[in-house]
């Protein structure tokens, strides 16, 4: 299993860099993962998206529909891409400690 080390934090991740065990997630890990997705600083807006995805995942064990994510956070898809350059499915979900969304996406 690959490991990554960011700022002294050692994480077990899958081949795409998503954390292997979503339950260990915390804010420190989110900050560390953000750096791997080109997000240098997690602002309030970032946290709004990350926390939304995280809470949805805890309730439903899956990422929310992109459309629902946009509506409930009040960000347009374009704004989400500005916050997370690699997009909601890859960047935001990774930082929120979800497994990588898979399938025809």
């Amino acid at each position: 299993m690959p490991q990554i080390e960011i700022d002294g934090l050692v994480l077990n991740v899958d081949e795409d860099g998503f954390i292997e065990d979503p339950t260990i997630w915390n804010e420190e890990i989110a900050k560390a993962l953000a750096k791997t997705e080109g997000v240098t600083e997690l602002t309030e807006d970032h946290w709004k998206v990350v926390n939304y995805i995280r809470n949805y995942y805890l309730q439903y064990q899956i990422a929310p529909m992109i459309r629902k994510l946009c509506k409930d956070t009040g960000f347009s898809l374009k704004e989400i891409y500005e916050l997370f350059p690699s997009g909601p499915a890859k960047g935001a979900c990774k930082i929120a400690g979800l497994p990588k969304p898979t399938g025809c996406v």
Binding site: E15, Q59, Y60, A63, I66, K90, C104, V105
Partner: protein, 442 residues
């Protein structure tokens, strides 16, 4: 990277990882068996005269310029083993015919190049013998699976499918939440209560693509609006919200298990008709294989475009093309609809009714080029290859001058926006039911 990452853990597939020696031994045994038992395989191996007709017909070769992606050269990776194994005096005559023995390196080559074939069947159309290299590709991926060589991405999907009944891994509570949200969205837009019924007994069981509950939500909305307008009771089976059947690409057992699930759900919900959503290969797997692999089927299997075309033609639903604006639309034929499933004219009929300006791309229909992700090549780690596989498609779209590409297949929908961005094409893309949903008069 050229080849997808291989899965280290194959569960729930009934195969295991083999060491090199075992792999080679097993590969030889399987090839010998196929050479004796499969007429299709023998023909594909024996017929080819290397005339070269397939060279420039294959988007994989045109995009990657790698000679192993010439359909016949790709098949040669297996043909060389076949010739070596069946030829008398194989040391001499086998070598003359291009024969080589199986080695671990050769098997790696199989894995690399048979996962750069989109199984689009375009080469079969131009071949003077009609050799269908997609069939060779499907067969080789099956052999590779039996040797324990399967992409990690594919195993992940099989796992999700086994656990939840869809590729994404959406469990029922999440599905219900998503449907409720989409119902609210439709109510906000139209002021009408349009339902997306889940697990209710109905004549029509609609099988969407699970990606419709993540990114392609407008496809789902289009379908819901259409059945609402037609006044027909329908339902979605929570146990299989997946039209895609990745088994078709690499493993018959997986395909069969998927089809079994499909038919069981239809029985449970007392459906008379299974309607397949916007998925290319899933249509072929359900329509062409359900009967063959899973025994006689007493339920009708239809495609959502057949339904929509029927409703429009009979005036059961009304559509207004004005609602989709003045922009120019073009249509991308998903390979498995156009070259393997005969959903060719229905989407065009629908499109002419729901948009004002529609132009064909060239070539089209059964001669259309693949998006470059067909046969499930959606792995992130082969992105560079995927973009090369999408090159011909990008050129085709560019030539049309269209603003909007309609691509009714979830694999195409996942691949094309990336291709358009990579080749700097400012075009939008969506499914076809999305546009039906926008044009429909409720």
């Amino acid at each position: 990277m050229n080849a997808p990452q291989k899965a280290k853990d194959l569960a729930p597939l009934p195969y295991r990882i083999l060491d090199d020696e075992e792999k080679v031994r097993k590969a030889v045994a399987i090839i010998r068996e196929k050479a004796a038992e499969s007429r299709m395989f023998k023909l594909a191996m024996e017929c080819c005269t290397k005339c070269g007709a397939c060279i420039n017909a294959c988007h994989s070769y045109l995009g990657t310029e790698d000679p192993y992606n010439i359909p016949t050269k790709r098949a040669d990776l297996v043909r060389s083993v076949y010739k070596q194994e069946i030829m008398p005096l194989s040391g001499v005559l086998g070598k003359v015919a291009g024969g080589i023995g199986v080695s671990a390196e050769l098997l790696e080559k199989w894995f690399t190049y048979f996962y750069q074939c989109n199984q689009c069947r375009r080469c079969a159309l131009v071949c003077p013998f009609g050799i269908d290299t997609a069939e060779v590709s499907i067969m080789v991926r099956q052999i590779l699976a039996e040797l324990g060589m399967v992409p990690r991405f594919t195993v992940g999907i099989v796992k999700n499918m086994a656990n939840t009944g869809n590729n994404m891994g959406i469990a029922k509570p999440a599905l219900l939440d998503s449907c409720e949200f989409l119902e609210e969205e439709m109510y906000e837009e139209t002021g009408i209560k349009i339902r997306i019924p889940v697990d209710e007994e109905a004549d029509i069981m609609y099988v969407p693509s699970s990606a419709d509950f993540f990114v392609n939500t407008n496809t789902m909305i289009g379908v819901a609006k259409m059945y609402h307008a037609a006044g027909i009771k329908w339902t979605i089976p929570s146990e299989i919200i997946e039209a895609a059947n990745f088994g078709l690409f690499f493993d018959e057992k997986v395909m069969k298990e998927h089809n079994r699930r499909l038919l069981d759900c239809a029985k449970k919900l007392k459906a008379k008709k299974i309607v397949q959503g916007e998925c290319g290969h899933g249509w072929r797997a359900a329509r062409m294989y359900t009967d063959g692999l899973n025994g006689p089927v007493d339920v009708e299997i239809r495609h959502i475009h057949e339904e929509a075309a029927y409703f429009i033609a009979r005036g059961i639903i009304k559509v207004d093309p004005e609602k989709n604006g003045d922009i120019v639309y073009t249509y991308h034929d998903p390979c498995n609809l156009a070259r393997a499933g005969d959903i060719i004219e229905e989407p065009r009929f629908i499109l002419r009714h729901v948009v004002k300006n529609f132009v064909e791309m060239t070539p089209n229909r059964e001669e259309n080029f693949c998006c470059g992700a067909g046969s499930g090549l959606l792995m992130e780690e082969i992105m560079e290859t995927r973009m090369k596989l999408g090159k011909v498609k990008a050129e085709q779209v560019k030539k049309t001058g269209a603003d909007y590409v309609v691509a009714p297949c979830s694999i195409c929908k996942a691949q094309l926006p990336l291709v358009f961005e990579y080749y700097n094409l400012p075009v939008e893309m969506s499914g076809l039911m999305d546009l039906v949903g926008k044009a429909i008069i409720l």
